[in-house]
């Protein structure tokens, strides 16, 4: 996975991370964010806890069911239901730049979790492409944006 767009993308993620969150300002410095001990990825879904059943998960999570653990609990106040998932084999966490651009083992899970939330809340998964666009010359920055966009559904801070 070190074709030129991927390398560019990682460099882009790194640059962006520095820009958005100067490393030296983060508590714990460069190690912060590397260990999220429990490994859970969570979203809050606006529904009743009974609407998310482990034996009847939405499609994107159902196909992963043998490889994941699932935790469901009510969110405080009126915020709905907290849905958390993690891989049973708990792969080591990738670095923040790799997670940000979805270049890590958990990207698949992040994306499945987001799509599942949409299915429960809206009933459909939002589709953007094919979106009308004009000529797209293969420039280096254009390739970074394109690779990042392709990876963005699975990228994230956690």
């Amino acid at each position: 996975m070190t074709d030129p767009p991927t390398r560019l993308l990682r460099a882009g993620g790194d640059l962006l991370r520095r820009l958005a969150e100067p490393q030296e300002l983060r508590p714990g410095g460069s190690h912060a964010g590397r260990h999220c001990a429990s490994g859970w990825l969570s979203v809050t879904v606006l529904c009743e806890p009974d609407d998310v059943r482990e034996d009847a998960l939405p499609g994107p999570l159902a196909i992963l069911v043998d490889r994941i653990e699932v935790r469901v609990r009510p969110a405080p106040a009126d915020k709905g239901t907290e849905l958390s998932v993690r891989f049973r084999d708990r792969p080591p966490r990738a670095s923040l730049p790799r997670r940000l651009v979805g270049d890590d083992p958990e990207a698949e899970l992040r994306s499945a979790l987001r799509r599942s939330k949409q299915l429960i809340e809206v009933g459909e998964v939002l589709v953007v492409d094919p979106a009308p666009h004009g000529q797209r010359p293969a420039t280096p920055t254009g390739m970074v944006v394109e690779s990042w966009t392709r990876a963005a559904p699975g990228g994230g801070v956690r």
Binding site: L46, E121, V122, P130, P132, H133, R136, W148, G155
Partner: protein, 391 residues
Amino acid sequence: MRAVTWRGVNEIGVEDVPEPTILNGHDVILEVGLSATCGSDLHLVGGYVPTMRAGDVLGHEFMGTVVEVGAAVTRHAVGDRVVVVSFTSCGKCWYCRQELYSLCDNGNANPGITEALWGQAIGGCYGYSHALGGWAGSHARYIRVPYADQGAFAIPDGVSDERALFASDAAPTGWTGADLAGVAPGDVVAVWGAGGVGQMAARAAMLKGAERVVVIDRLAERLGQVETHIGAETLDYSKVDVPGELRELSGGRGPDVCIEAVGMEAHGLGPSYLYDQVKQQLRLQTDRPTAVREAIYACRKGGTVFTLGVFAGLVDKFPLGAVMNKGLTLRGAQQHGHRYVPEILERMSRDEVRTEHLATHVMSLEDGPAGYRMFKGKDDGCVRAVFRPGD
């Protein structure tokens, strides 16, 4: 179909692009009647929003006629004349239910990008980069509108296309600022920026019962529009000391509410402007916060400062000491238009909100590059260039 596209930094094109099709049940396809340029586009044109791709169709302020309807759409039919909010919001998630529509969890298929930038992803917006969802914009003959039951609003019969157009973005943005900043009867409100957004924020503040509303800019034609069409007072910051004047006209207190409608490319005077320019060009800061700094300085103790102007990342020399010690409330938002459009359309039909004057230059899509050039340069009194794709 023809469309106005982003080709690169400071490069706008007109080219052939495929027509959109329905991809989700909640979509409609709209034949665009009018589509406006917005100050937010200038941040894309200038290269300050880093996730644009050559060929992206621009435009997020638009109205038109429904020509095709998805299977799940219940509120619209072919032939309806509608105006569409620039944010693509689902109406079903917790944020939408709180009426914080631009924070929608389900309107942006690329959430990883803004999550990386800001820690949480925000919603999607038409024609506004891949960070905000990669949606094709409205400077084209047709546009696909997702979540159409939520984001498209029927235009009342008595309201013209030219007026309704601005219920898409400029007006609801102004309403977002005045409402969420808590403008109340008797308030003194100052608004930085006399573009479409600043003018609409001023109008919203007046309709909320503000005692005095003052709009600050340096462009004479725009200040003239504020006086003639909005009915607010004005200050020319190139000629007067703005905080001093504001203090004087508010009995020494300073404005209760300060609304900033300028954004990350603010113009300024003196050495600090040069400093901000250099730092922004070197990418040591991403945004120039000139007007926000002035608003914080001018605001009365315990008052509210609201940033409607778009910022992308980091700013420098931010007067946090004044925010803390003066006990200010600092707030900002992308527009939560779905919440305000019904009221705005109703007020438009009663002539309480007039917006036609913002469309200073109406032209065809083929004139896209010239339109953006005029709008960016504020040439010939241009307040918003508006495209009519049917021409």
